[in-house]
Symmetry: C2
Subunit: 213 residues, 2 copies
DNA sequence: GACTGTGAAGCCATTCACAGCT
DNA sequence: AGCTGTGAATGGCTTCACAGTC
């Protein structure tokens, strides 16, 4: 298992492969080829093999891959062979939706603390969680060993919230505010910008209507 | 304005530049250099210039770019010099959050119809919209000239919903269900997978803890 | 002197094609 | 025969470096 630098695109696909493998496993499929995975997720068979090759040899030549084994390997590579506690800041509609999103639980993520600085939101309940004021964050991070924080605040608050999280030991941030955060480089950050993908669609539709209208 | 194929990464960054330019404009800044844009959004100055060069020459050598002009150009390129009506299927928490998300309105998007097939959700109100049964979709698409649909349903319903949208004239889909949709290739699809980015974080944290523990 | 626009170079990811197993 | 694993080839995006312009 040599450790070259792995392209982020490979990690993204690995996440998708692993979910596809979970589906196969639930359906009782025990063996799968790179071509079948490729068809299932919309990439080329060579891509699937190359992606897996970054991490080892998981298949059998002439046969394919064992579904359960490969599923476990991919989950392990992604760090999903364990449970992750998260905190979230911003108890608006988006924060609420993320707290109740089943996709997180299915992958081993639990949001164990929700914070806001809006007094009208503090004390409200989201499932079994109570929205807490920001000053309760430090203790909760320590108590639950939280390393990842989610930002679902309005844009103007995002940078300040990120700084506060980091000061209290958060190592990685998933940012839903449409604003590039300015953070130390040892912090892992990924942005989920809800309108960027929509704008890729309008960009592409623009070209189409030019052709067809 | 030569029309080479534009990398999707360029379109993504264009969307980010345009929002940064809007911020500068609101703050009264009138002129900006590629280096300042680069600093503001976290890319290299050459990247900014190269991205813009796909679409024309917008700057003045020795000076930089006029903020208002460049903002308008970028918005126009992205197809955001006009209003876009959207429909959304799935009136759960995520659907609710998307319907009330201000970031869409700020960029010229309006969700003008929300659909669900769950009888307990039909008739509910989200802002000024009433959740409608699926069979009302065809008329609404025609009436409002809708080309883009958003899928915020549970995973199991997503493929069927996508097929229904397309049958009724939708040309582009923003899919929040964590499942690769199987669609004709003339349909534009982009997926927003809420846990993939989280799994990139856990992947990267995995490497870090290996070093530091 | 400052900054854009761009061909060339460099780098990285994907695809190809085939050797190696079963 | 079928399918994996992988070096080589390809393709595409990013960075470099400098000519062009103000």
């Amino acid at each position: 298992m040599k450790t070259l630098r792995v392209p982020e695109a490979t990690v993204t696909r690995l996440s998708i492969y692993s979910r596809f493998l979970e589906r196969l496993d639930r359906n009782g499929v025990t063996s799968v080829s790179s071509g079948e995975i490729a068809d299932g997720v919309g990439v080329s068979p060579a891509q699937v093999r190359k992606d897996l090759a970054y991490f080892g040899e998981f298949g059998t030549r002439g046969v394919g891959y064992n579904v359960k084994d490969l599923m476990r390997y991919t989950l392990k590579i992604l760090g999903l062979d364990r449970h992750w506690n998260l905190i979230l800041v911003g108890a608006g509609n988006l924060g609420y939706a993320l707290c109740t999103y089943r996709g997180f639980n299915e992958r081993g993520f639990s949001i164990i603390g929700v914070f806001d600085n809006d007094l009208t939101k503090i004390g409200k309940r989201i499932n079994e969680l109570e929205v807490l004021p920001m000053e309760k964050m430090p203790d909760l991070i320590k108590e639950y060993g939280v390393r990842i924080g989610i930002i679902a605040t309005p844009t103007r608050a995002a940078q300040e919230v990120a700084d506060f999280m980091i000061k209290n030991g958060i190592q990685a941030i998933l940012n839903f505010a449409p604003l590039p955060l300015n953070l130390p480089e040892y912090i892992e950050v990924r942005n989920v910008d809800l309108s960027v993908k929509l704008e890729i669609l309008t960009f592409n539709l623009g070209f189409k209507s030019a052709q067809t209208m």
